[in-house]
């Protein structure tokens, strides 16, 4: 046992460290490498997603127009010469456009061919022309070189989304039409111009007339109202629970429930909204008002939790100092604690709002999945919101909607970006460090 020959020198702590050192360094390197890979992978997917959406969507910001010399004949537009708006509104503007188009192609005589020729022009073109003439009645009686909105098939052809080499029977656009478009293009009468319609019109079944303005305004009204409702209620609740409420079984129960509510799937709030707000209170379906009420329920837990965390992070010394110089508890909260907690509260609220902006599931139940052409003018008008509009366009068969769907996603992302930017700026503006 005590044979000195096989006594190994006692292991020192440094030996143990040295033995495992290499392995521990390797482990750290592996972890760092894994982390870097995860981040890179995530970034690659984000870049791929954005590249795909932008590549598909950017063409929707341009729209094909055909330039035609249009004779705004007084005989057609305003036969009695009174410039009465009602008469101007009733006039057959399509006829004027078709006549101008026919002059470009005098050889087209056959009725079928003429119909085909007419189909190059969007069904919405006369309305745009009417708006123009009604805004400036002095144009009547003159001939103007005007840019006329082209049909979505022509738009797709000009943008290169239609394969010219495919057999004619498989194309939405026939050989003859391609020849006509090519001729107009050679004459410089076809151009892609900035798509103002996309930003000024409501939705439409015709891709070239479909705009995002209706959904954008719907989202705007919904969010404004959601904020007005959920921010005061949420912050008030957080302030009471955190600073005033006695700690007992009831407040514990409430706290657990608030935390649970934050994890409830959003469709449940939709069902609740349908049963309570629409069924019981009779709030009209498909309005920003009912959407905002549902979204308020959905964002309240997020705001309450974020606000409580923000209130907790205000150092107790602030409260003690305020109370020490004679402020009432209410004054302490509103004059000192709340302003200091505001950056955190605002960030939490805006994250909640961003979630509400992208939400569709609860809206399904309250009639927001709807086709609404008119741009909503208030909280009580029928409206839809951006994500729903994207969903509806993605499901439309016309090919022109593919690029418009991507463009609408870009608009939604821009909206989100602006909101997040606001959160960051507000944070910077109010942030205090202790």
């Amino acid at each position: 046992m005590n044979n000195p020959a096989d006594t190994t020198p006692p292991r020192r702590a440094i030996d143990i460290v040295n033995a495992s050192l290499k392995r521990r360094y390797a482990r750290e390197r592996r972890f760092r490498w894994l982390g870097a890979t995860a981040v890179t992978l995530g970034m690659v997917f984000v870049v791929l997603l954005f590249a795909d959406i932008i590549l598909k969507g950017y063409t929707a910001f341009q729209q094909t127009y055909i330039q035609l010399p249009i004779e705004l004949a007084a005989a057609t537009i305003d036969p009695d010469g009174a410039r009465d708006p009602a008469t101007l509104a009733r006039a057959d503007y399509m006829k004027l456009i078709r006549e101008a188009l026919r002059e470009q192609f005098p050889e087209v005589k056959d009725r079928r061919d003429r119909r085909l020729l007419n189909s190059m022009i969007s069904v919405g073109a006369p309305d745009l022309l009417r708006e123009r003439v009604m805004a400036d009645p002095a144009l009547i009686g003159t001939t103007q070189e005007l840019w006329i909105l082209a049909d979505d098939d022509i738009d797709m052809l000009v943008k290169g989304y239609i394969d010219r080499n495919a057999p004619a029977s498989d194309r939405r656009v026939g050989d003859q039409m391609i020849a006509w478009v090519d001729r107009l293009e050679a004459e410089g009468r076809v151009a892609k111009r900035f798509n103002t319609i996309f930003f000024t019109h409501g939705t439409s079944r015709e891709p070239e007339l479909a705009g995002i303005a209706g959904a954008l305004m719907g989202s705007f009204y919904t969010l404004v109202l959601t904020f007005l409702l959920s921010f005061p209620i949420g912050v008030g609740a957080a302030l009471y629970l955190e600073e005033f409420a006695p700690k007992n079984r009831w407040t514990d129960l409430i706290e657990v429930n608030v935390n649970n509510l934050a994890a409830v799937p959003s469709i449940v709030f939709g069902l609740l909204g349908l049963a309570v707000f629409i069924g019981f209170f009779g709030v009209p379906r498909s309005t920003p008002l009912v959407a905002a009420l549902v979204m308020t329920l959905m964002t309240l837990p997020t705001i309450i939790i974020a606000s409580r965390v923000a209130l907790k992070s205000v150092p107790p010394s602030i409260r003690e100092a305020a109370l020490g110089v004679g402020a009432s508890p209410l004054q302490t909260q509103f004059h000192h604690v709340l302003p200091l907690a505001l950056p955190g509260i605002l960030t939490g609220s805006i994250i909640g709002m961003a979630r509400a902006l992208g939400e569709t599931a609860p809206l399904l139940m309250i009639g927001m999945i709807a086709f609404i052409v008119d741009i909503p003018k208030g909280f009580n008008d029928a409206a839809t919101v951006l994500p729903v509009q994207i969903f509806l366009w993605a499901d439309s068969p016309e090919r022109g909607f593919v690029e418009r769907t991507s463009a609408a996603i870009l608009v939604l992302l821009a909206f989100l970006f602006v909101m997040n930017l606001a959160a960051v700026l507000l944070r910077r503006r109010f942030e205090r460090r202790w």
Binding site: P232, G282, P284, F371, N380, A394, P397
Partner: protein, 347 residues
């Protein structure tokens, strides 16, 4: 500050409740997502004419639409519901009970369901039986019983078909297209097998379970409600087949081709004359009690049933609607425009 905001919100909610009782000046339409593209096209054209406001069209699904429609009479309830199947007797009764007495049924036309693949591969020629055997959850084992679907390639199903892995992209169970596909294609194929047809007489529930069950082992891929996505996936995968409405086939004829079913190609004409087997009728229903209260209902029905809309050359045909035959269409238009109330459906 918080108090005033809350007060403002409460006042706002209160005003809403009071405005609710006021008259409504836009037509409210609910119902099937299949009829949605046609209904919205008419609504938009109707609104563009400028005499009335553009109707609001909600996509709630046929069943959901019926429920809202039969909720009662008054401005809170919709005026028109779209349906991708005829109203059921039970729904008609629910309507009657809620005081919705007079309902006008308008058959709009047909909607075909295409089974298509990428143009880069050869065209398919299937029978309903092939479709059933390829996609059913349980198939007859030849000994009078049933077994879990063992078929992996189309050749296993039918020796005349190519040896290609069975891979079909289709709508999920929530979709009306799926319901129609199951009812028309699966059940049709099911009944072409004599022993299953016998089952219908003896054990109806078993028959339904056998005919309506779609396999869940990966051969049938639920591709979501988005038919555009199915088209994209078909282009990327030439071996796969996809199931979607005829309008998507029509719009994407340069990318995908429809399979012949029982020897019939899905074309406008074959669906219109009823020879293409996987097609169904689509409808809308008008609440007569609202005519005169809500402005424009009669005019909307007239617009919908005018030849420039639902005729074979009309703008709905451009959207993929298959028009009714001429004589039937004329009769339907007259009945619709006179708002003739329907009788209780047989089933």
């Amino acid at each position: 500050m918080n108090k005033t905001l809350i007060a403002a919100a409460v006042t706002l909610a209160a005003t809403t409740l009071s405005t609710q009782a006021m008259a409504r000046d836009t037509i409210n339409i609910v119902g099937s997502s299949t009829v949605f593209p046609f209904s919205t096209a008419v609504a938009e054209t109707f609104g563009r004419a400028g005499n009335f406001k553009t109707p609001k069209v909600e996509s709630t699904g046929t069943g959901g639409g019926m429920k809202l429609f039969c909720g009662g009479v008054g401005v809170d309830h919709p005026d028109i519901t779209n349906a991708s199947r005829a109203m059921k007797a039970s729904e008609f009764e629910a309507c009657q009970e809620a005081g919705v007495k007079e309902i006008t049924e308008v058959k709009i036309g047909y909607d075909g369901i295409a089974i298509a693949n990428s143009k880069t591969a050869g065209a398919w020629d299937l029978t309903l039986k092939d479709i059933y055997l390829a996609l059913a959850k349980d198939v007859p084992d030849g000994k009078g019983g049933f077994m879990a679907n063992p078929y992996q390639t189309w050749k296993d199903v039918n020796a005349d078909l190519p040896e290609v892995k069975i891979e079909v992209l289709g709508p999920p169970p929530t979709s009306g297209t799926r319901d129609a596909f199951v009812e028309l294609a699966m059940e049709g194929g099911c009944d072409s097998i004599p022993e299953i047809k016998e089952l219908k007489k003896t054990d109806k529930d078993k028959h339904k379970a056998v005919c309506h069950g779609i396999r869940e082992d990966g051969a049938y891929i639920e591709a979501g409600e988005n038919d555009n996505l199915i088209v994209q996936k078909l282009v990327a995968n030439p071996g796969a087949l996809g199931i979607f409405g005829y309008s998507f086939l029509d719009q994407n004829a340069d990318k995908v081709q429809g399979a012949r079913i029982a020897g019939v190609e899905p074309t406008y004409d074959s669906i219109s004359d009823g020879s293409y087997p996987v097609s169904r009728s689509i409808y809308f229903y008008v609440k007569k009690a609202h005519v005169g209260t809500i402005p424009g209902i009669e005019e909307f029905v007239t617009e919908f049933t005018s030849d420039k809309a639902w005729g074979p050359e009309g703008y709905l045909a451009d959207k993929g609607l298959i028009a009714l035959p001429d004589d039937e269409r004329a009769a339907a238009a007259e009945a619709a425009q006179s708002l003739k109330p329907m009788d209780k459906p047989a089933k």
